[in-house]
């Protein structure tokens, strides 16, 4: 199997990897924020519920969650059958929303009380204070931890193969098994590295853009 044939096959797997990455990111970023509001809610049952949920998700391996979401319904005798990719994406979105929500919470809690009070005495509504005063400061503070989490997400996508979704690693493993070639297994490292490099570049750009002020 030539280098290009291998590359072509791996590109298919990489497409799946990118899809898991993209959908998870797009869905988890806002969902995480909603969960943050839940975990910071003044209504105790909501706060308790969300905090427990976050604790469960952060306290168990993502791999287990993927397995649970895919096999769970069937094992319980339910007729719900999720396609493998859907199960993977649901698990990833839930997992990453929880991690993101904790990052958001940390960011929001790090904003000094004085910023809220300044908004209040200037007659702003709660919504205006959050979106006009606090949010941007939160974003600036969470870009670095968020960046870490996003880079981790790229690599976490390889967990999808536990329920036989052919992402990049699985695609390489298939070549290894079927063609008796070993090098593709290491070649995929280049895909991950290049993609992480691109993300790192973008994240740095974002950080730089927000560096026009310091606190």
């Amino acid at each position: 199997m030539s280098f290009w044939e291998v590359t072509k096959q791996l590109a298919d797997g990489f497409g799946v990897t990118l899809m898991i990455f993209g959908i998870t990111l797009v869905a988890s970023l806002p969902l995480g924020l909603i969960m943050t509001f839940g975990s910071m809610s003044k209504i105790p049952p909501i706060k308790w519920l969300v905090k427990t949920f976050v604790w469960i998700i952060r306290g168990t391996p993502l791999m287990l969650q993927i397995i649970l979401i895919f096999y769970g319904p069937g094992l319980l005798g339910l007729e719900i059958k999720l396609p493998r990719m859907t199960a993977v994406i649901i698990a990833f979105i839930i997992n990453y929303s929880c991690y993101f929500s904790e990052i958001y919470r940390g960011g929001i809690e790090s904003i000094p009380k004085g910023q809220y009070e300044a908004g209040q005495v200037l007659g702003m509504t709660k919504k205006q204070i959050f979106f006009k005063v606090v949010l941007f400061q939160v974003i600036k503070r969470i870009v670095p931890p968020m960046g870490n989490e996003i880079i981790t997400l790229v690599k976490d996508t390889s967990l999808a193969r536990v329920i036989a979704v052919t992402e990049l690693v699985k695609a390489a493993e298939r070549i290894v098994t079927l063609k008796g070639l070993i090098w593709p297994l290491f070649y995929i490292g280049a895909f991950y590295l290049l993609f992480s490099a691109l993300l790192t570049f973008l994240l740095n750009l974002a950080e730089k853009k927000m560096n026009y002020y310091s606190i």
Binding site: L64, G74, A164, T177, L178, G180, I182
Partner: protein
């Protein structure tokens, strides 16, 4: 409004999470317990190891026969496989071929259902089967006593044997299992290879390395992190030698390990499905079709019908 939807969503997910946490501990119970009558059957039948592979299972429990309805209503049967030569693999045109592929198709034709081949992670085959993510395991599945707890087996159709692979340069060092004392041995966790290693007194005392797949055992030997690997004969034959990255490895012919049989894995409660598959296998064996397929893929030397 937002909060309400959110709370609902969270509630639903929480429930799943909690059931899941409980479910982990009770997985094994549900696997065995939900069909206790069948589980008992395979348990008692395990003394004479071949008995549960024929249609005895199906005749003994006539109750709850919706299993075949479930599959025939779908019109397709999901077959759990892993890709490996010569069982299920792609030819140069990208078509899925192989002994098991053609065998499966032939049986399904007789049953009047379409086979859907679904790649799985081998170590999760029992969960795949039980959760109905797949309907059959048909991929060089070795019949073992442990597995009979979790699935029913069809007639056996190939004799599997476990072989030891080694780097050619070291092949002369090993003449029998006694000469392997003190080595490290890689195999797939939970595979027949592991059973074979543990069944031999000397090998059981070696450093045993359980991998997540058979091909990883090859990689271990290739990388020198293990001295020896134990693999299925068919897989080993197809994976090493000319034109592969494992060209410097060979099967140790001098050492014989326990041999076993390949069969199709079926859900314990799917008794009707099992009976139909067994009938179809009989027919294919009688008219010579199955032997032809075996010859085509070079496994006729271990043909068992």
């Amino acid at each position: 409004m937002k909060k309400k939807i959110f709370a609902l969503l969270m509630g639903a997910v929480m429930c799943m999470g909690c059931m899941g946490l409980g479910g982990c501990s009770s997985d094994e119970n549900s696997l065995n317990g939900s069909n206790s009558s069948n589980a008992d059957n395979s348990g008692t039948g395990s003394e004479n190891s071949d008995s549960s592979t024929d249609s005895e299972n199906s005749s003994s429990s006539a109750a709850g026969n919706s299993d075949w309805d479930y599959i025939s209503n779908k019109g397709e049967v999901v077959v759990g496989i892993t890709y490996y030569e010569p069982m299920n693999y792609f030819d140069e045109n990208g078509e899925l071929v192989g002994f098991e592929t053609e065998f499966t198709k032939a049986v399904c034709e007789k049953l009047g259902v379409t086979p859907v081949f679904q790649e799985i992670e081998w170590e999760k085959k029992e969960v795949e089967l039980q959760s109905k993510a797949i309907d059959l395991i048909w991929n060089g599945l070795t019949v073992t006593e442990d597995r009979k707890e979790n699935m029913a087996f069809s007639k056996t159709y190939l004799n599997n044997k476990q072989v030891i692979i080694v780097k050619t340069e070291n092949a002369d060092k090993y003449t029998d299992t006694a000469s392997m004392a003190g080595t490290s041995i890689a195999f797939e966790s939970g595979s027949a290879g592991e059973d074979a290693a543990k069944a031999d007194e000397t090998l059981a005392g070696c450093e045993l390395i359980g991998c997540s797949a058979q091909k990883d055992a090859l990689l271990e030997v290739k990388a020198g992190t293990a001295d020896l690997g134990i693999l299925d004969y068919t897989l080993a034959k197809a994976s090493i030698g000319e034109g592969t990255d494992y060209a410097d490895m060979q099967i140790l012919d001098s050492v014989e390990l326990a041999s076993e049989q390949y069969a199709v894995g079926v859900r314990l409660e799917d008794t009707e499905t099992l009976a139909k598959i067994n009938n179809a296998i009989d027919e294919l064996a009688q008219d010579g079709t199955l032997l032809d397929i075996a010859k085509k893929y070079g496994v006729d030397d271990i043909y068992a019908l």
